[in-house]
């Protein structure tokens, strides 16, 4: 007979659990932006351990049960590996700024375009729908491997997966909205050594994904006005840029946390930046990179047709310069600016020389 069956109409209660709680008398208060994640980081509940020993998936600050099964086996349980200081803020922003590719993009403003422009747009959209979800797949994998003790960072990664899903979707929609269709995939994010997918360390992944990969894409989305031919395309780039800025901010803020708390990893992180700098234009995951399948449609879009290819290409070069400048700014902001002063990185001087030429 189960315990439940033994209970009669006047039920016996155990109630022993009522005194087994986390810190009591907690009163998180709503602030100007509602009751945010930052607002509930009160007292013990706001204390994030440097090393997490949580193996049962219990909510941080709750009372542990001695008999609970160990189910976690979390790969990420060292705070510095994944942490960033403003995760709560960025997460709440992500919630407030969700948008719908079905209804927030004014699709009706799309009018038929000259064939070369439509083809360039569809090729670019095919590429973007192909690569956008690498930034969904990979963070998802890390979400499932991170201890819930670092849930603020994990929430933000979950929001990123959502954002990328919408990006994958909005570019597929664009490719099919105006008499075109999908074109050729590039294979840019396949299973190569050194790819975002195969990173075996979160920080390395974040350097490849957030700072290098998404940083490059962010510059392009921000300059979306230059390659948009209607309000729908403008909205598409603007809304994606807003999301992308958060993803890049994750990487920058995480690196900053590493810079401050993990000096033993500085050299290693500089190696990741070395790799990023070597691949920033030659790698095929940058839509403004050197691969003709990407640079040609982009130049056509920027110039206004095949006939103005050279003009478009000059704009593309300007865009590349801006990508590199913004990359540099982010690395400085992350606390690794010394590489631009001590001769390790040549990006500075090469930018100047290229500009002079």
């Amino acid at each position: 007979m189960s315990e439940a069956e033994k209970l009669g109409p006047d039920y016996e209660l155990d109630l022993g659990w009522m005194d087994q709680t986390g810190p009591w008398d907690t009163r998180a208060e709503e602030g100007r932006n509602g009751l945010t994640l930052a607002d509930i980081q009160v007292g013990e509940y706001g204390r994030v351990p440097d090393e997490s020993d949580n193996q049962t998936g219990r909510p941080r600050g709750s009372a542990p049960r001695s008999g609970s099964y160990r189910i976690g086996n979390y790969a990420v349980r060292t705070k510095s590996e994944i942490w960033l200081d403003n995760a709560s803020f960025l997460y709440e922003e992500a919630l407030q700024r969700q948008w719908s590719s079905a209804t927030d993009v004014p699709w009706h403003t799309i009018e038929p375009l000259p064939d070369d422009i439509e083809q360039a747009q569809c090729q670019m959209a095919t590429f973007l729908t192909e690569v956008e979800f690498v930034a969904g797949d990979v963070p998802a994998r890390w979400v499932s491997q991170t201890t819930p003790d670092f849930f603020e960072a994990r929430q933000l990664l979950t929001a990123q997966v959502m954002d990328e899903s919408r990006h994958m979707d909005v570019f597929r929609k664009r490719a099919m909205a105006n008499g075109g269709g999908l074109m050729a995939a590039t294979g840019a994010t396949s299973g190569f050594v050194g790819s975002i997918d195969l990173s075996r360390d979160f920080t390395e992944m974040s350097a490849r994904l957030h700072i290098s990969g998404e940083g490059a894409v962010l510059t392009i989305f921000r300059m979306g006005e230059l390659m948009a031919y209607n309000d729908a395309e403008k909205a598409m780039y603007r809304l994606c840029a807003q999301d992308e800025a958060r993803h890049v901010a994750y990487g920058v803020m995480h690196m900053r946390y590493m810079a401050e708390t993990a000096p033993e990893r500085h050299e290693e992180i500089n190696c990741y930046f070395d790799e990023a700098e070597a691949g920033i234009l030659s790698g095929s995951a940058n839509p403004a990179g050197q691969a003709p399948i990407l640079s040609e449609p982009l130049a056509i879009l920027l110039g206004g047709g095949i006939a103005k290819f050279d003009e478009g290409f000059k704009k593309l070069v300007a865009l590349r310069r801006r990508q590199i400048q913004e990359y540099k700014k982010r690395v400085v902001s992350a606390g690794f600016g010394a590489r631009f002063e001590n001769g390790r990185s040549r990006i500075n001087e090469i930018l100047e020389q290229a500009a002079a030429a």
Binding site: L13, A102, Q123, G191, I280
Partner: protein, 365 residues
């Protein structure tokens, strides 16, 4: 060009040389366009128009773009309908058959999730939460602690499987992105409720069912059985009752909205199980076996008095109330859970026997 030559001279380390090649050269030369990518499309001339609900994901499935094969061996991110590139090393996706992931409703659920988004920080009327008697606050906090932990398992399971699905079934990946995001929001909103009214988090839940869901590693379909048909439905039943017995507008808003989100996951789950059963001879029996094994663990979780008593206090309004009417409501809730669970199993045509320990909750006929 002079400047670049000068730069080349100044460059010393091999790394700097690589960067010079990668950065300086593309700044200077305008190439002759090859345009080899042009006129390459498997289907051109597509013009999908926005409908009543805007330009939706499902509406894109026209012509070859709507052809969704039963197997998708391509392990790159080649979008369905695009021309793939040969010779690309696989990303390594474990789920490559439609029967392992598919549900026809996924595309619609994806759009619906986006339309019905809400933010715990600003949409919950937190100011309607007023101080509660100590026993009731403790019960509410305990229930919210366990619900937050339920959401944690959902986050971990969904995110662990979603990235293992091939690109050919992108609708499912996209829907699951919304489901993971929903679960994150649930994790957050229950925690917020526990920490804002003079209480705190309670005791962590017993781990048996959590472990069972996380250990369903064999396949996503198997994870769905536990995540949706057992735990998901149980959580939904709890939420339905909690909404009815909520002490204030904020709590009823929370339970109602979480319930609405979870209803999507249930819809996806049932639809997927039906699809998997229809396309895999052995699937029905696998589900029946999983459910039978799961019963043992579910009963152990369920025998733990903590959640039961906390819910009875919420339903009865106090410890006193829990000893009478509150526990009656709890048993009523269990009957509702079991009978819905049986209904769903019947709809799936999965053979199901309710174990002796739960028989008191089985429908009489």
């Amino acid at each position: 060009m002079k400047a670049v030559k000068a730069a080349a001279k100044a460059v010393k380390s091999p790394h700097a040389e690589t960067v010079r090649k990668a950065v300086a050269a593309p700044m200077l030369e305008i190439p002759e366009p090859k345009l080899t990518w042009m006129n390459k499309s498997r289907q051109w001339g597509v013009r999908v128009k926005p409908g009543k609900k805007g330009l939706t994901l499902g509406s894109l499935n026209v012509g070859i773009y709507g052809e969704i094969p039963m197997d998708w061996p391509d392990q790159t991110r080649n979008p369905r309908g695009a021309i793939g590139r040969k010779g690309m090393p696989p990303v390594g996706y474990m789920l490559r058959s439609k029967s392992q992931v598919w549900a026809d409703c996924a595309a619609d659920l994806y759009e619906e999730a986006i339309q019905r988004r809400w933010a715990p920080a600003t949409d919950v009327p937190w100011d309607t939460v007023k101080p509660l008697p100590d026993d009731l606050e403790r019960a509410v906090c305990q229930v919210n602690t366990e619900l937050s932990q339920y959401a944690n398992v959902e986050i971990e399971v969904i995110s662990a499987w979603q990235h293992q699905m091939v690109y050919g079934y992108h609708e499912v990946k996209q829907y699951l992105a919304t489901a993971g995001f929903d679960a994150a929001r649930h994790y957050e909103v229950f925690r917020k409720r526990a920490l804002m009214n003079g209480g705190g988090l309670g005791l962590e839940g017993p781990g048996q069912v959590n472990r069972m869901i996380l250990e369903s590693r064999g396949g996503w379909t198997e994870a769905v059985v536990y995540l949706v048909l057992v735990r998901g439905l149980f959580a939904q039943t709890i939420l339905r009752y909690l909404e009815h017995y909520a002490s204030n507008e904020a709590e009823s808003f929370i339970y109602r909205n979480v319930l609405q989100d979870k209803a999507r996951l249930l819809t996806y789950g049932l639809d997927h199980l039906k699809f998997a059963i229809a396309h895999n001879e052995d699937q029905k029996q696998i589900i029946a076996t999983l459910l039978a094994i799961g019963d043992g663990l579910f009963i152990r979780d369920f025998n733990d008095p903590v959640l039961r008593e906390a819910l009875a206090i919420v339903f009865g309004g106090s410890i006193e109330g829990a000893r009478g009417a509150g526990m009656d409501v709890y048993h009523d809730m269990m009957r509702a859970y079991i009978s819905t669970h049986l209904e769903y199993c019947q709809w799936l045509d999965v053979p199901r026997r309710i174990p002796e320990q739960l028989e008191q909750y089985a429908p009489q006929d």
